[in-house]
């Protein structure tokens, strides 16, 4: 074990592990958001109604935010 860890630099390692964890989570989240978009489009095709385009737009906004989450996590 490195002396740095013993002298209190453990926070650097902790943050590094956390960053990797965040990146992985945000990637999974992005994949899930993409599935949500696909399912929303599929559901909209099955039941056509007035507000379907609005719902699909919301799912795309969610996907964009999920992409932003990945970028911001990498930039940490």
């Amino acid at each position: 074990m490195s002396p740095d860890f013993l002298t209190g630099n453990w926070l650097t390692y902790f943050l590094l592990i956390q960053k990797i964890f965040f990146i992985l989570c945000s990637i999974f989240y992005f994949i899930f958001a993409a599935i949500v978009v696909r399912q929303t489009i599929s559901m909209s095709k099955n039941i056509t109604d007035k507000f379907n385009p609005v719902i699909v737009i919301f799912s795309y906004i969610h996907l964009i935010l999920a992409a932003f989450l990945i970028l911001s996590t990498i930039a940490l």
Binding site: L11, L15, Q18, F22, C25, S26, Y29, F32, A33, V36, Q39, T40, M43, K45, N46, I47, T48, D49, K50, F51, I55, F58, S59, H62, L65, A66, L69, S72, T73, L76
Partner: protein, 258 residues
């Protein structure tokens, strides 16, 4: 704002002042298609050729439906009478949707309340000591992730409510369900195979807000269809009974002609 008073053209977002049309407009329509009071109860005007574009399709029978069900004003309503826009791919060309139902709005109360609570959780982060060891940008990241999760939770619940519909058409009853956004369940029963229709209103809120289940027993392969937590179950039963009677009349007429 001028709004159409022809009941056949009333869409969910049309403002309707009176549930019954003006007498004069009915007289005008009757004279136009030469309807006599004796044939007012006929479901479909079969004497008129279908190819005639001026023929007002089912001008009398939908009025009966409006009399039973009333009108819907909001497209987000869980009780959509004669919806203009809503449709589904399995629908036939000549099939007309009389009623589209979603679960009563009160069924959404639980997840809406939970979402509101989730939205306030990040404000508690400031008071939690274990998060103070993180740098501010990490805390922002945690908050952003939390808000996205909250949005996803609410969005999934909303989609579950919005796309789970029960539809009563001129030919059949249809139940379209999506489970966990991934599995689609489609059940239908023709009006002529419906045997029994029963309803149950349970609990304080069900009684107070008038929503409950409607169970439709059929003679087909899918022997029952359950409309869960729908508003005005007694009106739905009345409508199905009316449609069954019309269907029986039609079949009797067909049998009589043969």
């Amino acid at each position: 704002m001028n709004r159409s008073k022809d009941l056949d053209t009333i869409a969910p977002d049309d403002e309707v002042i009176d549930s019954k049309p003006e007498t004069t407009s009915i007289i005008e329509e009757k004279s136009e298609i030469e309807l006599t009071p004796e044939i007012k109860d006929e479901p479909i005007l079969k004497s008129e050729p279908k190819s005639n574009p001026k023929t007002p399709k089912k001008i009398v029978f939908p009025q009966k439906i409006y009399d039973i069900l009333g009108h819907t004003k909001s497209p987000f309503s869980s009780f959509l009478v004669h919806p203009k826009v809503l449709t589904f791919p399995e629908r036939d060309n000549e099939e007309e949707i009389y009623l589209a139902l979603r679960q009563h709005w009160f069924t959404n109360f639980k997840w809406i309340a939970f979402t509101i609570i989730m939205l306030f959780v990040p404000t508690l982060f400031n008071y939690l000591s274990f998060l103070n060891i993180l740098p501010p940008n990490y805390r922002f990241e945690v908050s952003l992730f939390w808000f996205l999760l909250t949005f996803l939770y609410a969005f999934e619940k909303f989609l579950g409510w919005y796309f789970n519909v029960f539809i009563i058409t001129s030919q059949r009853v249809v139940d379209i369900d999506f489970h966990n956004m991934l599995n689609k369940h489609f059940a239908e029963a023709d009006l002529d195979v419906i045997q029994d229709v029963s309803s149950s209103v349970k609990g304080i809120f069900g009684t107070f807000l008038n929503f409950g289940d409607v169970l439709i027993q059929t003679a087909s392969e899918i022997n029952q269809i359950n409309f869960e937590k729908i508003p005005n179950p007694e009106k739905v039963i009345k409508l199905i009974r009316e449609l069954r009677e019309e269907e029986e009349h039609k079949q009797d007429e067909k049998g009589g002609k043969k």
